[in-house]
């Protein structure tokens, strides 16, 4: 059994089933990220782990101990809230030590703990300020300090970075990651930002509509999405999901994809999962192409022999500085590819595209489930 075990957890609010049989298991030191669109039940699940909300059915185990009926303060858990929830009437130092005070830790010990944590988070000069005198990033740090000082078994973070501006968010993200590595802490982290999920997690649970769509390592989630929801949600720009037909060309299983020049479809060899996909011969499916697998020929990786080239009409180019996103129409949909910044592609003209077919994935058209 894992360190944190979410076992068949169901949550109803009145008649609405908000969580539908959630099963997640992680080990000591794991960084679990719960990711999903707004309203999918991430915060609800986090509150169940914290014990702030009652579970309708199922149970949660932490370090082999059943949590049913255990009060939030007795679970050895600390939580960082989205709004930081700093007590406005207390100074930073009082905020950090309040939890210890409630646990009847002596004053000298509390002071030692506060100075240890404030040193770690570099908030020593702020200790005598009130929360209203802090910037967003500083408040964030104090909120983390309040959690760290208790040295709990599990940390819970509910969208801790969503109130920060873009730059600060990236900085704090790095800091949280460093903190995790340094403390070897077990963390459950809620976000709806898939980049945060990819960069921080050792395990990701992608949720939608109260169901865990997929649970796995960031690589598994990214490379082997189990359905079109996960495929479309993770990655930025998101995976291109294009209607295609499975056909055989010269004995080779291929995807036939409509292009703008109607007479001439794009033919891409099926690079993986051929056994499963062959059952769909002559049927319509959805093929998923990551933008980074669609490049200019020069930047493609030709060593594996899985690159397939084609001429396609460019609809739009979006230079970002480092790369250039190139949009073309495939299967009636805008498809984004990522080329070198100075690649030969211009809007309204034909350009040479290189597809790395080894990384394409196929989904059932009706159900959206992965074919593999």
């Amino acid at each position: 059994m894992g360190f944190l075990n979410i076992d068949n957890v169901i949550k109803h609010y009145h008649d609405v089933e908000v969580l539908k049989r959630i099963n997640i298991e992680i080990s000591q030191g794991d960084f679990l990220v719960l990711v999903g669109p707004s309203g999918c039940g991430k915060s609800t699940l986090l509150n169940m782990i914290a014990g702030l909300d009652e579970i309708t059915d199922g149970d949660i185990w932490i370090n082999g101990k059943q949590m049913k009926g255990v009060h939030p303060s007795k679970r050895d858990i600390a939580m960082v809230f989205q709004s930081y929830a700093l007590y406005p009437n207390m100074t930073v130092a009082q905020n950090i030590s309040f939890g210890l005070e409630m646990r009847k830790v002596s004053k000298p010990e509390r002071e030692t703990a506060v100075s240890r944590v404030s040193k770690m988070l570099q908030i020593e000069p702020l200790l005598n300020r009130k929360p209203s005198q802090l910037s967003g990033g500083q408040r964030q740090r104090v909120a983390m300090g309040r959690a760290l000082v208790r040295d709990p078994q599990v940390f819970l973070f509910d969208e801790p970075l969503s109130n920060l501006d873009a730059k600060l968010r990236v900085d704090m993200r790095t800091e949280i990651k460093l903190l995790h590595q340094r403390l070897d802490a077990t963390i459950v982290y809620v976000t709806h930002d898939q980049i945060e999920a990819m960069t921080l997690a050792t395990k990701i649970a992608v949720m939608n509509g109260g169901v865990v769509q997929q649970f796995g390592t960031p690589e598994e989630i990214y490379d082997n999405p189990v359905n079109t929801f996960v495929a479309g949600f993770m990655g930025s720009p998101s995976m291109n999901l294009v209607p295609a037909k499975v056909i055989k060309v010269e004995g080779r299983l291929s995807y036939q994809i409509e292009t703008k020049n109607a007479g001439e479809p794009l033919l891409l060899p099926v690079g993986r999962d051929e056994m499963a996909i062959s059952k769909y011969l002559d049927q319509e499916i959805t093929v998923g192409l990551r933008p980074e697998t669609i490049t200019d020929p020069e930047s493609a990786n030709h060593t594996e022999g899985t690159v397939h080239e084609a001429n396609l009409l460019v609809d739009l180019t979006e230079p970002t500085g480092a790369d250039m996103y190139v949009v073309t129409l495939l299967g009636g949909q805008e498809v984004v590819g990522r080329m070198r910044n100075r690649a030969k592609a211009a809007a309204g003209e034909n350009a040479r595209f290189a597809f790395d077919v080894s990384r394409n994935v196929a989904f059932d058209k009706a159900s959206g489930e992965r074919i593999q």
Binding site: A50, L52, P72, S73, I77, A78, M79, F81, Q82, S83, A85, Y87, P88, N89, F98, G99, M102, R103, S132, R146
Partner: protein, 303 residues
């Protein structure tokens, strides 16, 4: 093009001047109006103060609005210490303290209970919390007169008839609807996450109330205290009904003083007594009102 752009500025200045002038006119008009209204409102107070500083002869002979020819504090001293209410001539000071002894505990208890109710009704919701709140809200609309008879019966049963403690209880009970309403609405907007954070920190039910909710309730405490203080201090009906004689509050005493029909009407003493009776509420407004505004401002700038 160039010619146009050259005479543009002067035109602008002209219209600016016009705008400025009409703004000044408006301002003058508004200020005049405000001053007139203020004078009308302050006139009675002026008369009271002036009269209370005159000797009785001067009051009888002179103009009501005229300043005193000779300032005397005699009426104040008399009102406080030796004026006759009915048969006993000890002034109003005893009744003033009665009012203090009634108002301060009633305000404190009422405010605290209201805060506690608001806390439970918003942060520890139970089944039917809305019905309970609805009923408390209803209590705000019950007129004084309806309460009188049942209340006097209850006071009689509790043995609190004609006592200051009895009056405290009456005012706490009657004010509870309002104080609960104030605090419930304030705590409704108070972030749940703070309470949840405190729960995770290990704080218990009452600790959360004392250490988290109450210290962050400054503005609403001030509002409630002003409201309760003025209502309870100025109350006449409950005081006259439940605490006659020795334990009467100052409002009742003032009435007795004015109605004491021995000899001439000492207007100067009456005025001094009336101002004395009004001073505490004025003080509460002046002192707490400033915190009230400050509290509102702080709330609005906080992120």
């Amino acid at each position: 093009m160039s010619a146009r752009s050259q005479d543009r500025p002067s035109q602008d200045r002209l219209s600016q001047d016009n705008a400025l002038r009409s703004a000044i006119y408006w301002r003058a008009l508004i200020y005049t109006l405000l001053i007139v209204i203020a004078v009308i409102y302050l006139a009675p107070l002026f008369v009271m103060v002036v009269t209370s500083l005159k000797s009785l002869e001067e009051v009888r002979l002179g103009n009501m609005m005229a300043l005193p020819l000779e300032i005397t504090f005699e009426p104040w001293v008399k009102a406080w210490g030796t004026a006759c209410l009915g048969l006993d001539c000890n002034g109003i000071n005893g009744y003033f303290w009665n009012s203090i002894k009634m108002t301060v505990p009633a305000v404190a208890i009422g405010t605290l209970l209201g805060a506690f109710n608001g806390y439970v009704l918003t942060k520890w919701r139970f089944k039917g919390h809305n019905i309970v709140f609805g009923m408390m809200l209803f209590a705000c609309f019950i007129p004084f007169q309806i309460v009188l008879l049942p209340m006097s019966q209850v006071l009689g049963i509790l043995g609190l008839a004609n006592t200051t403690s009895g009056l405290v209880m009456v005012h706490v009970v009657y004010g509870l609807g309002f104080t609960t309403l104030f605090f419930r609405n304030f705590y409704e907007a108070f972030p749940d996450e703070l309470v949840r954070a405190a729960i995770m920190d290990g704080a218990k039910f009452f600790t959360i109330f004392w250490r988290i909710l109450l210290p962050n309730s400054g503005p609403i405490i001030v509002v409630t205290v002003i409201w309760q203080f003025t209502n309870i201090w100025n109350d006449f009906l409950f005081g006259a009904s439940f605490a006659s004689g020795e334990s009467a509050p100052i409002t009742v005493a003032l009435n007795n003083l004015v109605n004491s029909s021995t000899g001439v009407k000492e207007y100067n003493v009456h005025m001094a007594a009336a101002i004395t009776a009004a001073l505490p509420t004025l003080l509460v407004y002046v002192v707490a009102g400033r915190y009230f505004v400050r509290g509102l401002m702080a709330g609005s700038v906080k992120g």
